[in-house]
Point group: C2
Chain length 163, copies 2
DNA sequence: CTCCTAATGATGCATATACATTATATGGCG
DNA sequence: CGCCATATAATGTATATGCATCATTAGGAG
């Protein structure tokens, strides 16, 4: 192994936005998981329930698109929420789609989780500064957009779905 | 469900940095996975092998710390790389720690993956602009730092490990 | 020299993630 | 009215992730 290789590897480790995106997602997910743990809720479960509460009756496909998650992943995650009685699904296989809504139990739990999220958010804002927190969120939105395979300018070697 | 609740949920969905960090990490990981798929390599496997190649002989604990990943997660991910014959581990249980290095096979694979990564990186830079790409990476580093439980200013309810 | 503490690695369990594939139902066309 | 192409959900398989816990080993105290 030459020094050239080692330097190349160090450069990549320091510059790869994908590596950093994963590391950051892991860190903030651990943070939120710890916050929500007393409620028996994970960060991702909270996000999905918020997404459903924000648009009751949303279909599985719509929610998957807005969350940037594969429909098969969302299918299983929603099944978990259904098992716990927090989410109710109307409809199933077929063109109509599976329409999602919060149960009374789910709505109650989410009401308890809201102040927990607000405190966690306030703490992040205090540590990083509100301007910087908004800036990083918007920057991550922009990065996700250009990384999407459905972006109008796909990289070579990444096939576009024929529509 | 009142309109107040729905608006609150929409605000949270639009403002939560954790949700966006996960969505962005998923998107860019899908992008890199597609790039590395012809090599039989995942984005995370690439990142770990780059981390090992950048500091041969690094211990499992050190690599976990630099990658911001739990040691138990890294333990299993490294086992996967060992099974494939890309990584060699010297030492094991005990205070000495498990020292990691690339095998000849792993080094060869990584050499093939380097130009693939560079092209993917160049494509991202072209789409987002190099300044913006560097900005978002640095912003994510900052977010990860303040979200770490080991941060000097922990949020209430998140215990610090007694050292 | 022996024992014990602490650091380290691995495992059990649960959730999360996505590609490939299968199962199902529906809307439209003949 | 019946069939089928297509949209949708679910499942099989594999990787990734982390907490709680267990297993192992080395370093130090006595």
């Amino acid at each position: 192994m030459s020094d050239v290789d080692r330097d190349a590897f160090r450069t990549i480790a320091a510059e790869c936005p994908g590596f950093q995106a994963r590391a950051t997602a892991r860190a903030i997910t651990r943070y939120h998981n710890a916050c929500f743990r007393p409620l028996g809720l994970t960060a991702e479960q909270f996000s999905l329930m918020v997404g459903i509460g924000a648009a009751e009756g949303v279909t599985l496909v719509e929610l998957a698109l807005s969350a940037g998650v594969d429909t098969t992943t969302l299918s299983r995650n929603i099944q978990n929420l259904e098992k716990r009685g927090w989410v109710y699904a109307d409809g199933g296989r077929g063109r109509a789609g599976k329409r999602l809504s919060l149960t009374a139990s789910g709505h109650h739990l989410l009401a308890e989780a809201l102040p927990v999220w607000r405190q966690a958010q306030a703490e992040l804002s205090r540590r990083l500064g509100n301007d910087q927190l908004q800036l990083v969120r918007r920057a991550m939105v922009a990065l996700a957009v250009v990384a999407e395979p459905s972006s109008p300018t796909a990289p070579e070697g990444v096939e576009q779905p024929v529509s």
